[in-house]
Symmetry: C2
């Protein structure tokens, strides 16, 4: 078998060995996603099984509904439900900086023993920092480390790591998906991960409210800038009519982006008197972070968000004008 | 490297060797999908490159828009655009029986030299039949054979095979996805397949009309049988208003099925005076093929279609009554 992450496998084993006999909190980030939950589950289990560490996963926010079944019998707590002073050390996964912990967790754990992450922006805030920006998911990095080190990976751990990879690669659709991603998934399935069961839990249990919200979002589509921009809108009345949850907007903006001829998809949300928005493009050349800056926001060249601090009625003409001039400027630069 | 399909690799090499110097048509099926096109492209290229065979892919129907870019420089023709008498022999891929060729192709090629397929129902209609029902896609079977035999796989061939696997596994979501699927994809990416480029072509170029049709379909959802059945409807007026294509209904019924608590999703389509429908369930125990039989249809336990021969207004009460009694009967059987 090839070695996946030789520079991280040894340091992980050393750092984990030093935790033996301690009570360890395995921290994730606020609004946790599949890679966060999966990585917390996997590290907690490996610390317990391989290193005889009394580890538990701790998150400021609850495990999302779609990920609940992947926790299995892993000790996993919300920060409010457990004595945060009862831990000797903390390990973090999938957190680029300390602010990602959320304020309650951040204050409770001033020192982090080990930080495992795949974000290029990671600030290396821990005593030991294992950061691999080339890996598609923290789950991929952890799986590679565990395989390199020959740890026994039980089916719950294998499935948790698989879920991290499947979700963070958009089900193997993002450019971060490499041959290594597939090779690692092959090993995870050999160790008991189940791709179809993961997909069922992740994608096949949509709520009626989410579909109703999607329907209203699609009905709102407007195409501007010679059809190169698609804007969709969620109004307060849509929330009221559908009883959808805040998390139900996840993925909506991709419907506006993934249309033939559309370069930038836009989602504008109005909720409880606040307005916020998202830009998505297929290509970094569209630099949507620069657009977001004009509306009190920021982000990446392909994905950015904004909080314009104005009503939808005030925002819309400004947004359209900004998109028009942004695309014109990009065309001039060539 | 492990051997993927040792019982098929040798016979493929023998059958292909016998075609050397001949003009060969590589046949697929009507209404071709990603696995059909990808497998045709891959076999045509390998026959040309490894066996110096003058091979061309032939299909009765055109290559779907989303797959066009994966053909590359492979000779690929619609049956109507080429002299079908100009070939010495034919090879078929992804075709469970001869009816899948379409009538024009079926009549032009009475004898098939080699049949490569992954459908359990394959009727073994050729001189050499390489059928592997355990593989997730014909593309997976072909890729395994090519790797086992050590053929050089160029990037266009690798991408075509990857597209076959990605589409036939529902982007690695179906139960047919195994560790072998991931191992083979790892090798395809090492040979130049690009998962993100494939996903972009396959999923990120939706037409505005298709999204408009989806919006109308979602707006039509009705939940019956204690919310265990979701019925969505496409009416003639929806076709007229959206200018959507017939192929744009693909995948719609899955929106009705993949809802928490829903056991059976139903799509009813009205077009040009005809009414047809589809049933989908998450679990074979719902035997939707039995339901379809009552409406002049049939299919599999999880996926079936019907042509009821009556108007939507006449169909709907009968459909609801049949669903109610079907679910009641299943509950009684336990």
């Amino acid at each position: 078998m090839s070695e996946f992450f030789p520079e991280h496998a040894g340091p992980f084993a050393q750092a984990a060995s030093a935790l033996e006999g301690k009570r360890i909190a395995v921290l994730g980030h606020v609004r946790p996603d599949g890679d966060c939950i999966g990585s917390q589950v996997a590290v907690t289990r490996i610390l317990r099984q391989v290193f005889h560490v009394d580890a538990a996963a701790i998150n400021q926010h609850p495990v999302p509904r779609a990920c609940a079944s992947f926790v299995g019998d892993t000790p996993f707590f919300e920060a409010g439900d457990v004595d945060l002073n009862g831990f000797d050390y903390a390990v973090s996964v999938d957190c680029a900086d300390r602010s990602r912990f959320g304020s309650v967790v951040d204050q409770a754990f001033p020192e982090i023993a080990l930080n495992v992450d795949h974000h290029i922006s990671n600030t290396r805030y821990a005593a030991h920092n294992l950061v691999e920006a080339g890996s598609s998911a923290t789950g991929e990095l952890l799986a590679g480390i565990f395989l390199d080190n020959g740890y026994a990976i039980d089916p719950v751990t294998a499935q948790a790591l698989y879920v991290g990879i499947a979700t963070d690669t958009g089900q193997f659709r993002f450019a971060s998906t490499t041959f290594k991603t597939f090779e690692i998934c092959c090993h995870l399935l050999e160790n008991g991960a189940d791709a179809a069961q993961a997909a069922y839990e992740l994608y096949e249990k949509e709520s009626r409210a989410k579909l109703a919200l999607l329907q209203r979002f699609l009905a709102s589509f407007r195409y501007i800038c010679d059809n190169r921009v698609c804007i969709g809108l969620i109004r307060q009345e849509d929330w009221d009519a559908t009883a959808a949850l805040k998390e139900d907007t996840e993925g909506l903006v991709d419907y506006a982006r993934a249309i033939e001829g559309v370069d930038i998809g836009v989602l504008v949300e109005e909720k409880d008197g606040m307005v916020k928005g998202s830009f998505r493009s297929n290509d970094a050349s569209f630099r949507v972070n620069e657009l977001a800056k004009k509306f009190n926001g920021g982000g990446h060249a392909c994905a950015a968000g904004f909080n314009p601090g104005m009503s939808v009625a005030d925002l819309m003409p400004k947004l359209e004008a900004a998109l028009e001039s942004h695309l014109t400027k990009l065309a001039e630069i060539g």
